[in-house]
């Protein structure tokens, strides 16, 4: 067996990713686990940045992976797996956030329900105060702006890749990203 390929910036190289997909398609449980380890953390973080709800983010990232597993036998392994699964997660998180906004607009019952869902960022001991402020500032952005921030900084996609995945003009992506950063900067303490 040849040695594992080098990973780029802690992420799977394209060759290794394709090999893992091939093995997962062949029924290797270990390959599925390696794909999970490689791609789930960022799918979860991106879903959380967009949805702002821990339980929802967990469900969304899990559903994205389960959907990918179910479609693994038809997946074209020449395509990159990571962006595919991350796009599923981000799109679902945007849909979830939009539906939550609609529920919030529907009246106080909806707001009460939302108040009981998930955990709040400041309740997690792993988050330091500065990160807590950043999470609070992110909550002030629209889901669409949060999605672009998540794709740019959590998933490390270029503005061109974001534009392609969200089917938006590249200029729109750049302007939304700039506006999002400006708003975040204005809400963070010095």
């Amino acid at each position: 067996m040849s040695p594992p390929d080098k990973e780029e910036n802690g992420r799977l190289s394209g060759r290794r990713e394709r090999r893992l997909i091939r093995r997962a398609q062949g029924g290797s449980q270990e390959a599925v686990e390696l794909l999970f380890e490689a791609f789930w953390p960022r799918a979860y973080r991106a879903a959380y940045v967009v949805a702002r709800d821990q339980a929802a983010a967990e469900d969304i990232a899990q559903e994205a992976f389960l959907a990918a597993i179910r479609k693994l036998d038809t997946f074209d392994r020449r395509r990159p797996f990571g962006p595919w699964i991350h796009r599923i997660a981000v799109n679902r998180a945007i849909d979830w956030s939009r539906s939550r906004s609609l529920r919030a607009e529907a009246g106080p019952d909806g707001l009460e329900t939302l108040a009981g869902e998930g955990s709040r960022p400041h309740e997690d001991p792993a988050l330091d105060p500065r990160a807590d402020h950043l999470q609070a500032a992110l909550a002030g952005l629209t889901p669409e702006h949060r999605a672009i921030v998540a794709m740019r900084y959590v998933l490390d996609l270029t503005p061109g890749e974001i534009a392609e995945q969200l089917e938006l003009p590249r200029g729109t992506v750049n302007s939304r990203l700039r506006r999002a950063l400006d708003q975040l900067a204005s809400e963070l303490p010095e």
């Binding site: 067996m1 093995r23 997962a24 062949g26 029924g27 290797s28 449980q29 270990e30 390959a31 599925v32 686990e33 999970f36 789930w40 953390p41 979860y44 973080r45 879903a47 959380y48 940045v49 821990q54 983010a57 967990e58 990232a61 899990q62 992976f65 389960l66 597993i69 179910r70 693994l72 036998d73 955990s119 960022p121 309740e123 997690d124 792993a126 988050l127 500065r130 990160a131 950043l134 999470q135 921030v149 740019r152 900084y153 959590v154 490390d156 950063l181 400006d182 975040l184 900067a185 963070l188």
Partner: protein
């Protein structure tokens, strides 16, 4: 915002973490692993169903509208070779009693009495014989084993270990550090155990992650797998015979020391029962050990002779045991032993001259197949414990000639040993 402030903000965004990440990862990991296992099983079932339907369609297309002449020819061929051989003459009477009058036609396809395929090895290589009579040669291999669903085969010869699919296409191969023996595929499908020289090694089912598992592990009784499913977790447990004569049992992913069993005498064969207990066959007894490795019971075997193979019933707590009798003039017998606690008993299913080569249960437990070189036949016996002997015997005669492609012209193909019967 200044470029410096922007850079700092971007760095903070890249370092963002979501709450309860470890717990969420653990919960999702279980769900994804389970889903992958189910998806694989569904895919295999679907593929097998398609294969079965297409094979059934082909078979129907070939069969004449009136099947009676074909059935007569089939019965005739099943018996002809057996009757003509010297050893076969001694069993002619009971075969006739079991199946009917002696027929005259010899050339019909091999037919297995139950569903599934038999894996076999002779001097010409490794082969698969399907229930419908089709025979496929897997290649020049002297060792082979089924994958759990029978869709792939691990094969070996010399230092080469490989996997081929049902069509015989090579999936992967490697050169092991020693001569390969006893490849065994775990029921989970995840990994294969094999011996390379004196060492026991593991490799993933897809040919990756080959590694040493137990150095200097001995070489007599092979290794046997059990997969335990607890909740959403599947654990591959391996039992093997050490060079010191002790049996060791280990969860292959655990760092814990293996459980060690010190058997009463020399061990000839091992097998797991469906309930997770281990059956250890020695020349003098058939001992049963609990899941935890505690000796539960032992069934004494007739004195003299030697156990040559063992197979566990996939549907019941029984084993079939082939042994030489050790009596003057040679001879072998096939024993059926019930090893259920409190109901232990054994009976002879078959006895005849010469050796029995290989024993395997049908996937549904309805037949026991075994090779009997003196009659150049595979014989199949109903594993009945209470009915009259010799009822329900099925014979596949002239068996060597059916696996003769690539055989040495002078020496012939050799007798095809029954390795396993699967799926």
């Amino acid at each position: 915002m200044s470029p410096r402030d922007r850079q700092a903000l971007e760095a903070e965004l890249r370092d963002l973490r979501a709450p309860e990440e470890a717990a969420a990862r653990s919960r999702t990991h279980h769900a994804v692993t389970l889903a992958a296992l189910r998806a694989q099983q569904d895919q295999e079932t679907e593929t097998e169903t398609q294969r079965d339907s297409s094979a059934a369609g082909r078979l129907r297309a070939r069969l004449p509208r009136d099947p009676r002449p074909a059935i007569v020819a089939l019965v005739a061929a099943l018996l002809a070779g057996l009757m003509l051989s010297p050893a076969g003459a001694s069993v002619r009477g009971w075969i006739q009693e079991a199946i009917g009058p002696e027929p005259t036609t010899r050339s019909v396809p091999l037919k297995l009495p139950a569903e599934g395929s038999i894996l076999t090895v002779n001097d010409g290589g490794a082969w698969v014989a399907s229930q419908n009579g089709s025979i496929r040669r897997l290649g020049d291999y002297s060792q082979t084993t089924f994958s759990p669903r029978g869709l792939n085969y691990a094969v070996a010869d010399g230092r080469e270990l490989a996997a081929v699919n049902a069509e015989g296409d090579l999936q992967w191969k490697l050169l092991a550090p020693g001569r390969v023996a006893d490849p065994a595929w775990a029921p989970s499908g995840i990994r294969i155990a094999y011996r390379a020289g004196p060492d026991l090694r593991l490799i993933d089912g897809d040919g990756e992650n080959d590694r040493l598992f137990a150095p200097n592990a001995g070489a007599a009784a092979g290794s046997v797998w059990r997969t335990d499913v607890e909740g959403e977790t599947a654990r591959d447990v391996l039992a093997w015979l050490g060079r010191d004569g002790d049996i060791r049992i280990a969860d292959v992913l655990s760092s814990a020391e293996p459980t060690t069993i010190q058997p009463a005498g020399m061990v000839r064969a091992l097998t797991w029962l469906t309930d997770g207990r281990l059956v250890v066959a020695g020349d003098r007894e058939l001992a049963v050990y609990s899941v935890a490795g505690t000796r539960e019971s032992a069934l004494p075997l007739p004195r003299g002779g030697r156990v040559t193979d063992i197979a566990a019933d996939p549907s019941d707590q029984r084993v079939a045991l082939a042994r030489s009798t050790g009596r003057a003039g040679g001879g072998s017998e096939l024993l059926l032993a019930r090893v259920e606690a409190g109901k232990q008993r054994q009976r002879v299913l078959f006895s005849g001259p010469g050796l029995i080569v290989g024993v395997a249960f049908a996937p549904d437990g309805s037949w026991v197949g075994f090779g009997w070189p003196p009659a150049d036949s595979w014989l199949f016996a109903r594993p009945q414990e209470n009915t009259k002997l010799l009822k329900g015997i099925h014979a596949a005669p002239e068996i060597s000639g059916r696996f003769s492609e690539g055989a040495d012209a002078l020496l012939g193909p050799g007798f095809p040993e029954v390795i396993d019967w699967c799926c």
